[in-house]
């Protein structure tokens, strides 16, 4: 239901925005009025908006997301190509950021009020406040230009990927994935670390922690076995919230690293008034957010036995 409402709102809003998909055509002084009219008619853009919506809804019912004006191919095909790249990037970044963030928080809490704690807090704050596009450009320049150890952009090497062995292709893909995934991981892990540190500090004064200490467990054992599991609940909520944030945050990362994912495809489609691609992307994005929330609920139940009966 939420997905349907989001789709309707997006459809109306994007059609109300000034301009149309054929603005670029009008940049050519030789393009006549007849040509523009023909193009609009070919894509049904000369029909009243309610009729366009009904036709779109009919196609949607058949599982068709329409025709992308900017890619000159079906939206299903565009998104089917882009979605795996986005999921790969998001998946690596999600796992990486939560692992790194939790690790940082554990170190900070284990050495609370030490120089290490303050230094890691400062570093976390630095990445937390860093604009994503800025960090992406810095990473790009640092590791492809000043210290050139990674390829500049794309998901694979455009020249020779097709001719690599299986192992070579995997290596090639990993090398191209490294920088965008690192950038997203650094950005997201800062948030995770700050949340996790606060949650751990909240549970440390608890009675069961004091009991564990009295039993003679080391501070490391207490943190890993007792404090962490209870302090994970707010972080699990963060996973659900991270899906939309990563999806939109990935836009700039995908743009800077020429990563052929969904975020950049959809946001660029707004600029080119590629209506079907925008709506299709929003629908898929909404489904991903809903699935993210579901995943968070399941993880919550796993982490907190009290919720399993509900």
């Amino acid at each position: 239901m939420i997905v349907a409402i989001v789709a309707v709102i997006t459809f109306v809003l994007i059609h109300l925005a000034p301009g149309d998909p054929f603005s670029a055509v009008t940049d050519n002084p030789n393009v006549s009025e007849t040509v523009r009219a023909t193009l609009r008619a070919q894509y049904g853009l000369d029909r009243p908006l309610p009729e366009q919506f009904l036709r779109y809804a009919g196609a949607l019912a058949r599982g068709e997301l329409g025709w992308s004006f900017s890619y000159e191919r079906p939206v299903n095909e565009v998104l089917a190509t882009a979605l795996p790249n986005t999921l790969l990037l998001m998946g690596v970044a999600l796992v990486g950021s939560f692992a790194l963030g939790i690790l940082i928080a554990l170190i900070q809490v284990a050495r609370r009020d030490s120089f290490t704690d303050h230094a890691l807090s400062g570093i976390s704050l630095f990445f937390f406040s860093m604009p994503d596009f800025w960090l992406a450009i810095l990473t790009l320049l640092a590791f492809t230009y000043w210290l050139p150890i990674f390829p500049v952009g794309g998901a694979v090497d455009p020249v020779i990927h097709e001719y690599l062995s299986w192992g070579g292709r995997v290596l090639d893909r990993l090398q191209h994935l490294a920088l965008p995934a690192l950038t997203l991981t650094l950005l997201a892990s800062a948030t995770v670390a700050r949340f996790q540190r606060a949650a751990l500090l909240d549970v440390l004064p608890s009675d069961y922690i004091r009991t564990a200490r009295l039993k003679g467990l080391t501070e490391r054992q207490i943190l890993r076995r007792h404090a962490l599991r209870n302090a994970l609940l707010p972080i699990i909520s963060l996973i659900g919230l991270s899906f939309p944030a990563l999806l939109t945050g990935a836009f700039f990362i995908e743009k800077v690293f020429a990563w052929p994912g969904m975020g950049f495809a959809v946001v660029s489609a707004i600029g080119t008034r590629d209506y079907p691609l925008v709506v299709g992307g929003v629908i898929i994005g909404s489904i991903m957010v809903a699935l993210g929330s579901l995943l968070a609920d399941l993880l919550y139940a796993w982490a907190d036995p009290r919720l399993r009966g509900h």
Partner: protein
């Protein structure tokens, strides 16, 4: 260099190995050209080309009957070189031209190129259901007849100095046997538009959206094998990423560096730059009609003297120097220095702020208390609309704002995204707009943007609604004239008229700066199509790097050239 090391490592992992396909062929053939570009091409159909990226790929794959020369002389057939047609014959009344097709010309699927293909190309381009941008500029061509399979006769409605140009430049030939079963209205969506078959010196290999387009040498092409084995467009979504790809060595060529990128080039001894002319001019356009009611003149710019005063208050030389340094020349008018029909000494409205103040005073615009001129209680104030994505235009707007402030004019700069700006243009709801026309080798295109018909058509491209019958008449006379001197004289009169009417302030003709790797041996970069001579670019065998020798995705890879494939067909000029 790092990218080359990186490629070398990957080459070690290539399943079939980096065979030295290029160097084994020896001589000047072999190698891979990687071009870094900032966007995907559109559908690869010649009649539907709308972007430079698309034109670059399409022109590698498809051929015309003849091609315009580097001088861009489009008068009659002077300067044109044979392509699919190895010769042509004019009728006595010049109302038809018979093109004789090269008997060796073949499509990439092996079938011969025939006159039916030429007839089909014209008919489909003119088909209104296709929606080809070229349709309007070939309206003088009536039809093509095919007396035999090797002869295509173009019939024209009227004699025109440009009729040869219209029949060749605007019509890359497409294979009838591929397209005839697809209705023109479905060409954009067709698979054939994404896996094109042409007759050019490169054949299509692959297109991975937002990643790569690859073409490979057509080794037995009727015009001879191109020198490079492969041309690859590496696509980035972001300009800076595309530049970094070039600077880091992942790509060999970048078509248009910005001034701020040039400082990086000396740090890379292996990189070179080459400036070249492009067919573009920028301008600040006045709207001569009221944005709210197009039947009325604009409250300010309906007045010719006010437009001239603002032009006099504009130090165009300073703007061009500030924005481009030496990478542009001041625009003369709605024309280009590169056109043979342009007089480089066209009289201009001079930069004279003192005179501008006098004119504004005489029009009743008196300096108000806050240094903004006022007349009848209304300030001399308007909005300048610009696309925020263009840094050059943003900076131009700031400079104009400051220069006009000094004569008591207040300008509000409105920064819009491109579709919103285009909507303002087409609906003509702006006061003033910064624009640029990317035009064609024909100076006649000026009517499409400044002529009366383009002003009166509902969605015409004369957005400022400038109309002067004297201007149109002189352009028409120029276009109808077969005498170069007379043609130039008429164009000069037309340009003088529009310059003095000041429907726009003509700002700059930018030069483009290509960046390339020093191992590449370039040919001429043509102003209308820098890529036109790519088939003649080459990489010396001793300067090749690992990626030059990666095999092609074509079945069997790129074959080594044979004596027969490199030979020029009899009677054909060298490309």
């Amino acid at each position: 260099m790092a990218a080359m090391r990186y490629t070398a490592i990957l080459c070690a992992l290539i399943a079939v190995g980096c065979t030295d396909a290029g160097s084994s062929s020896g001589g000047n053939t072999g190698g891979t050209l990687v071009i870094s570009v900032g966007g995907d091409p559109g559908v690869l159909v010649p009649a539907l080309v709308q972007s430079v990226q698309t034109a670059e790929v399409v022109d590698m794959i498809y051929d015309r009957l003849a091609d315009v020369g580097d001088s861009l002389n489009i008068l009659n057939d002077q300067g044109f070189t044979p392509r699919l047609a190895d010769r042509w014959t004019w009728s006595a009344d010049s109302l038809s031209i018979a093109f004789h097709l090269n008997p060796n010309a073949k499509w990439h699927d092996g079938l011969p190129v025939r006159s039916n293909d030429v007839r089909f190309t014209l008919a489909s381009t003119k088909d209104s259901t296709l929606g080809s941008p070229a349709a309007s500029v070939i309206s003088n061509i009536d039809s093509v007849s095919t007396p035999d399979s090797a002869t295509a006769v173009f019939w024209f409605h009227a004699r025109s100095p440009q009729q040869f140009f219209d029949a060749t430049y605007q019509l890359p030939i497409v294979p009838e046997h591929i397209w005839k079963t697809i209705p023109p209205s479905a060409w954009r969506a067709s698979d054939a538009g994404r896996h094109p078959i042409g007759s050019g010196r490169y054949r299509f290999v692959r297109w991975v959206p937002r990643a790569v387009v690859e073409v490979a040498a057509d080794t037995d092409n009727y015009r001879g094998r191109p020198k490079l084995n492969r041309v690859i467009w590496a696509i980035s979504s972001d300009f800076q990423t595309a530049v970094t790809r070039f600077l880091s060595g992942e790509a060999d060529f970048f078509e248009q560096l910005r001034p701020e990128n040039l400082a990086e080039i000396p740090k890379h001894p292996e990189l070179r730059t080459r400036p070249y002319k492009v067919l573009a001019y920028s301008f600040a356009q006045f709207n001569l009609r009221d944005p709210a009611n197009h039947d009325r003149p604009h409250r300010l710019f309906g007045n010719r003297e006010l437009r001239r005063a603002l032009t006099m208050a504009t130090d165009r030389a300073a703007i061009v120097r500030s924005l481009y340094d030496t990478l542009a020349v001041q625009a003369l008018g709605p024309t280009l220095h590169v056109y043979p029909t342009t007089d480089p000494n066209l009289p201009q409205i001079p930069y004279d702020p003192a005179r501008a103040r006098q004119i504004l005073d005489s029009l009743g615009w008196r300096m108000g208390p806050d240094s903004v001129r006022v007349r009848n209680g209304a300030p001399l104030r308007f909005t300048l609309s610009i696309p925020g994505t263009s840094q050059v235009r943003v900076r131009t707007a700031v400079l104009l704002q400051e220069q006009w402030r000094q004569v008591g004019v207040k300008v509000d700069v409105e920064n819009l995204e491109f579709p919103a700006l285009m909507e303002k243009d087409t609906r003509r709801t702006f006061d003033m707009v910064l624009g640029q026309w990317n035009t064609q080798p024909s100076p006649g295109a000026v009517l499409g943007s400044w002529g009366i018909q383009a002003s009166r058509a509902k969605s015409g491209n004369n957005f400022g609604s400038y109309e002067n019958p004297a201007f149109d008449a002189n352009v028409d006379s120029a276009l109808a004239s077969f005498d170069p001197a007379e043609r130039k004289a008429h164009f000069t009169k037309a340009y003088e008229t529009i310059i003095q009417d000041a429907p726009a302030i003509w700002i700059a003709e930018p030069l483009a700066i290509a960046g390339y790797h020093s191992r590449l041996q370039l040919a001429t970069l043509r102003p209308d199509a820098w890529w036109a001579h790519i088939p003649d670019w080459w990489i010396p065998a001793d300067k090749r790097i690992p990626r030059d020798n990666a095999p092609s995705a074509l079945p069997g890879g790129v074959a080594s050239p044979t004596a027969s494939s490199t030979a020029q067909p009899a009677g054909q000029k060298s490309p």
